[in-house]
Amino acid sequence: MKKLIVILLLLNAVFLSAQTAQDSTQVYKKRVLESAEVDFLMSYYQQDGDHAAVTGGIGTEKLNNITPTIVLSVPLNEDDVLTIDGEVSAYTSASSSNVNPFDGTKPADPFVASSGASGSDAWIGANASYSHSSDDRNRIWSGKLSISNEFDYFSIGIGGSHTWLFNQKNTEFGLSGNVFFDSWYPVYPYELRPFAEGGSGYFPGTPVYNPTFSTFTKTGRNSYSAGLFISQILSKRLQGSLSADYVMQQGLLSTPFQRVYFSDVDSSFYENFRLADDIERMPDTRSKVAVGGRLNYYINQYLTLRTFYRYYFDDWGIQSHTFSVEVPVKISGSFTLYPSWRFYNQTAADYFAPYAKHLSTEQFYTSDYDLSKFTANQYGFGISYTDIFTRFHISKFGMKSIDLKYHYYSRDTGLKASIIALGVHFVMD
């Protein structure tokens, strides 16, 4: 599978360069992208709950995140478009601050945020993608490079896709592949560190605390994905698509700072905080399959119906269903409203158990509620303003649209989250 994806990516690169040379003899073609475009995007996300994975399934899940992003698309000629985007995701997290809850400012407690250094960080990522369209615009090749970094994780990825349009552009078929080579810089719960190989074997103030703990020896994580996509115009007002993704991951799939507590091991406390018995231990491979479909219907000049369904399963025992519907409402030539609803449910991973329900004799275990059985509902509302005349300008760029969206997410495990996102789209004159 891995070799197949890599071969497909290489073939895609060869076809891309060959097609670029072949197409260079054309005299005039309508440009795929008329002029350079810039998107300034920003989101603010916050969540809270009582099942933090870092404290073994109990404790605060409070998290705030802000994500400024810029996306620049540049037409290199009639056929080729280069897109570069950069994103910074800065967060403060009560949950991850409790990797070290013993900051001394107040009694350690899983429901109280620590002032530890791990309580805030920034994820920085960049992507560059290049696409080439054939003369008749019936074939599109694209390649993509991505890189990202945060304090405990680094990733580099490469991907590509090939799309065919036929049946008078009524049908579209695409293949895609992505490979990511990621690395953890493992950070372990503070109280376990003395019990790693070469450690002191003693945590101050807790003479009976003596966990059996070993660090991870392999810290890489590779992900290989392959995707299929087909879309079809079904009538003058109706079109749909089907897509499928297969993902294979191998390497360190556990999160090193997530604690686990066993029911058959005596508890040790420091202040109000139960000291970890171990960290999450997961298998080093995982295969995922997702199959989804979209169906969009143009009801009239005011209303459009957008629907999505996905079935997912993996070899960790999780199955899930996702359904969403959005009904854009055009209230004028410039303004559109976007009410939406999304339903999601999943079964639990084979290795999940709540706080202090695992046995020390198990091979794999986690108390991460993101892998538990749950149902979630998400309600959204957005508004979009479009100015086709781009009257407002900054330098040579005219503003074409502003989008604002808000979503409220509620999980039956108690997690509540909300996200607000703003996007401003500029087009070069």
Binding site: L41, S43, Y45, W123, G125, S146, S148, Y153, S155, G157, N167, Q168, N170, T171, F173, N178, F180, R221, S223, I230, S231, Q232, I233, L234, S235, K236, R237, Q239, S243, A244, D245, V247, Q249, K288, A290, V291, G292, R294, N296, Y298, T304, F308, R310, Y312, W316, S320, P328, Y344, Q346, A349, D370, A376, D403, K405, R411, A417, I419, A421, L422, G423
Partner: protein, 70 residues
Amino acid sequence: MIKKLLLLFVVAITVTSCVSVKEYEKIYLNDPDMVLGLKKLDRFETTFQAYREAAVGANGGKTGGGCGCN
């Protein structure tokens, strides 16, 4: 499972390929809200869902890699 998926795609192509809407008849289909994919602003929503939920893929969002999620 893979065979079933391939069969589904073949059936989908076969059943639907007889439909042909001309370019000049696509005025409704070319509406920006009829796009069969994610808009740029949706990237934040799909990313947080990839962190908070086990399921990924088949929606144009991340399928793994690039973050410690999933």
